[in-house]
Symmetry: C2
Subunit: 189 residues, 2 copies
DNA sequence: CCGCTCATGTAACAGGTTACATGATTTA
DNA sequence: TAAATCATGTAACCTGTTACATGAGCGG
């Protein structure tokens, strides 16, 4: 049940609606946890029922009424407890890696195409995370910000996201190059 | 349903029993997919029923009888189709990142301890993957092996695993350093 | 003699995904 | 006028996890 804690962690930055949360937990942006909108709406209700977050209705003109949630003291205590508990080891589950694992037995062309696509997605995330980091630290250097800034948590997780996507992109490009060269070598026979 | 394809991909290397598969899909070793033994035994039965793999009983002395599975032609076709289909985008779900996201609101000490643990795990995997890569390429250089070796799929995914764990370790160490320095700065006040 | 390895499962439950549903406003 | 954005959910289904179960041999 780590989704709850991910939601609590996200709400630490300030009160958000389910819809806004859904955007930060979106595939294209999420740098510390991914979840679907449906999961979030359900989890928010559960968290509120358990008293870990509290919401207030905000009536808008020309927009549906929304509910903004913030973490309660009980919620903070819960997060504290979660942080102290042993973290589950993380593991890898990626379709693309499965396909590359089978590289010697499947068509290299489609593999190359998919690696290219993944590299492009990674590139887009690298841009995004780079911008996010810059906007978080403002005109300070990274060293400066990490030493004296308040709220460095999101910055640190974003750094990991950036490095991860850089690794992704590099590996995709290297793998593409390898597959291309082998294909050409085979064609020459 | 990507577990099936992960199993098929793993069985391409040669016939394996459920137990042996379970070891390659284990947390500590899995470089392209993770799964639990129970999942694998269930999936193997399903795959056999669907004709994508075939098994043969091997009676052993002093060990229980086991079943070794290999991929059938139908299984290869299935893998081929899977590889051609668009890969699902991968996403991040990691307890430790959630905790770091909340770093500004929870105890840094326990966080540092957990980051250290994760760095150690990453270090062990780096060693393991390094050894695996060396044993796969034998006395050839990486360049050489990737150009002319047969079965480079597992090598490529292992490379990704290695880079990923290096990224993990580096980030953990950097994060520990940041948290330590901030703690000391706070103590000086 | 205790715990590990080999070898395979079942059953109950928790968690996550997909499809469906609604409805107003703004942008292209 | 079609699509995207804002805003929230329900229900059915599929997947994954946890707990439980068995049983023989081997090493310290």
């Amino acid at each position: 049940m780590a989704l709850r804690h991910a939601v609590l962690a996200a709400l630490l930055e300030g009160e958000l609606s389910g819809y806004q949360l859904a955007k930060t937990f979106d595939l294209g942006v999420a740098n510390f946890w991914y979840a679907q909108p449906q999961q979030l709406y359900a989890e928010l209700n559960r968290l509120e029922k358990d008293g870990l977050i509290a919401g207030r209705e905000v009536v808008q003109e020309a927009r549906p009424t929304k509910r903004l949630f913030h973490v309660t003291d009980a919620g903070l205590a819960e997060l504290e407890a979660f942080s102290a508990a042993a973290a589950k080891p993380s593991f890898v589950r990626d379709d693309l890696l499965v396909k590359v694992q089978a590289a010697d037995h499947v068509d290299p062309q489609t593999l190359i195409a998919q690696l290219g696509e993944r590299a492009a997605v990674a590139g887009a995330k690298i841009d995004l995370f780079g911008k996010l980091l810059r906007s978080m630290r403002g005109d300070r250097t990274e060293e400066e910000f990490l030493r004296h800034g308040d709220r460095i948590g999101p910055y640190l997780t974003c750094m990991r996201g950036l490095a991860f996507e850089e690794g992704n992109r590099d590996w995709c490009e290297r793998t593409i190059a390898v597959l291309r060269e082998r294909r050409q070598a085979r064609d020459r026979l």
